[in-house]
């Protein structure tokens, strides 16, 4: 059975990876999951300088979903290169480094700092709803998307995946903008902007009021957007949003994704990413599929 997929010239031995920010930089999960089994590991967003993150509370549960407001806390690219990348490189998997910034120049600077390192692919997070400047503001306007993608492309070495926000009117337009500026692949969806009010305390559940919604609650939105984006671009798509099982992964791939990322499910079960892969293989066996790429033409 062939499970391998090609993302922007890089071969992943299978299409399953954790979604950025839900798997740390692999170290903690490695106690529970065999990292060697995953098609890739996607890191937590890395910024040029250490980022403090948002005050508590940062996470709250909603019906079949979670709202988070982490605010991209991370130790910065220097610490990442020193402490985390060498750890991830021990495994037989691809390393996708997710990068973030407050300005176009900051994004490009992180990409530049990763030049010539063991990072196999970069993922550009222009879709985080949890920071005041940067993040989401770069991902909702096609012109800005083009500017940031082009600037990062110019200073980066590795193939570039651009991670899109669902908080837009036309995902096709944004996807096409990323492709036209040189994106080698796109990933979607990042979290949906949401809000929860604690009616007993008469307070917002999250002090920043809004947070990013993920989990099974957003899967239909994700499937729809992956489908629409796949019609708008020719570059490969990594699909995510509410994938909890192998069958969810199949659905996302039928919609047009070449690979899938597992996010909130990692909290519900620490082995979720590897479990999704196992279940995907069961599905292929049961349906007589020999090649994972057959899924994309099954619809």
């Amino acid at each position: 059975m062939n499970l391998s997929v090609n993302i922007a010239g890089v071969t992943l031995k299978n299409p399953v990876m954790p979604a950025s920010g839900t798997f740390g930089n692999g170290r903690e999960y490695a106690e529970f999951v065999d990292i060697n089994r995953l098609g890739a590991v996607v890191t937590k967003s890395v910024s040029i300088k250490p980022q403090l993150g948002n005050p508590p509370c940062r996470i709250t549960e909603t019906a079949s979903g979670i709202l988070n407001s982490v605010g991209l806390q991370n130790a910065g690219v220097d610490a990442f290169l020193r402490d985390d990348l060498p750890f991830l490189k021990q495994f037989d998997t691809r390393v996708i480094v997710n990068i973030c910034g407050h300005t176009i120049d900051e994004y490009a600077a992180v990409a530049e700092a990763l030049l010539g390192t063991g990072a196999d692919l970069l993922e550009l997070n222009i879709s985080c709803p949890n920071v005041a400047e940067g993040g989401l503001s770069f991902g909702v306007d096609p012109k800005t998307v083009q500017r940031v993608v082009a600037a990062v492309k110019k200073r980066s070495g590795q193939p570039l995946i651009v991670k899109l926000s669902p908080n837009v009117t036309s995902i096709s337009e944004i996807a096409a903008a990323a492709e036209s500026a040189g994106a080698d692949a796109i990933s979607l969806i990042n979290t949906l902007l949401g809000m929860k009010i604690d009616i007993k305390r008469r307070k917002f559940a999250l002090p920043r009021k809004v947070g990013g919604l993920s989990g099974p609650a957003i899967k239909p939105v994700a499937v729809r957007m992956v489908y629409e984006a796949s019609r708008a671009v020719r570059i490969p798509i990594i699909g995510m949003g509410g994938i909890m099982t192998g069958e969810d992964a199949v659905e996302m791939m039928m919609a047009g994704a070449s690979a899938v990322a597992v996010g909130a499910a990692n909290f519900r079960k620490l082995t979720a990413a590897a479990d999704v892969l196992d279940e995907l293989i069961v599905f292929m066996n049961e349906n007589g599929l020999n090649d994972i790429t057959e899924l994309s033409v099954m619809l």
């Binding site: 920010g21 403090l52 940062r58 620490l270």
Partner: protein, 262 residues
């Protein structure tokens, strides 16, 4: 820290909204007081595990005491003996006892300060000391838990209620202030509402007594990967966010950046 299936041996009400659960865990699980277990609910609508402090571990029997605080703990309270629970434990950094418990020549006492549902991990901790002083505060007589068990462990046990319906009347820290001058306290361990922890920390600083507090925060992964559970801590005179699930839940009271927290 390991993932395993635990079998519910007992899930009994101590009070209308507080239950004592005993589960069978694998033989070789060990835990330090202050560490916690994450309980996975296996419900499609509730994705996050519920962190509960380990209240005791004897052989392969782990005890957890929890309050019905919302949907997840309500669901837990309805589970019956024999049901299997997915768990990950032990998690986090527990209370540091070394240097405080073993010195028999030291006649000073350890003081355990518990507020409400903060008492259970202190019961586990009490077993590590010779007759510590346990000061336990509750809302009213009807919400008192575990006081008898602290007593039978040999703790000098003082109970207070906010409404005076049993024991001393007043907040637990008022009782501590009233009692402690008569005692020679070597170390303070506190678990309870954040406001109580802050006052305990301030008290300990004034008296120059080492103090450890067990902090609570909403969590997602529980293993230190997602940064969802920040604890503001002063490190190298800078305010940073540590992880309650991994760097805590127990912190040195002095290291916590209390300002803005309480």
């Amino acid at each position: 820290m390991r993932a395993f299936d635990a079998v519910i041996l007992e899930n009994a009400k101590l009070k209308p909204v507080i239950l004592s659960m005993r589960v069978r865990v694998p033989q070789n699980i060990t835990a330090v007081p202050g560490q916690f277990a994450n309980i996975y609910l296996d419900r499609p609508d509730m994705l996050l595990p519920r962190p509960i402090s380990i209240c005791g571990l004897e052989g392969d029997t782990m005890r957890l005491i929890y309050q019905i605080a919302g949907k997840g703990t309500q669901y837990l309270s309805e589970l019956e003996r024999g049901k299997i629970l997915r768990m990950v434990a032990p998690l986090g950094n527990g209370f540091n006892i070394s240097g405080f418990s073993s010195n028999l020549a030291d006649s000073r006492k350890a003081m355990l300060i518990g507020g409400g549902i903060g008492a259970p991990p202190l019961l586990f901790l009490a077993k590590m000391f010779k007759s510590p002083l346990a000061v336990l505060g509750f809302r009213s007589a009807s919400s008192i838990i575990l006081a008898d068990e602290f007593l039978s462990l040999g703790c000098e046990t003082v109970v207070s209620t906010d409404d005076g319906s049993l024991g001393y009347k007043g907040r637990v820290m008022e009782v501590v202030r009233a009692l402690a001058p008569e005692r020679d306290i070597s170390v303070i361990y506190a678990c309870g509402p954040r406001i109580m922890l802050g006052i305990a920390a301030e008290y300990a600083r004034d008296k120059n007594i080492p103090c450890q507090v067990s902090m609570e925060e909403h969590m997602a992964c529980g293993i230190g990967a997602c940064f969802c559970c920040p604890a503001p801590v002063i490190e190298n005179s800078r305010r940073v966010y540590k992880k309650v699930c991994k760097d805590g839940p127990v912190f040195d009271a002095d290291s916590v950046a209390w300002e803005g927290l309480i």
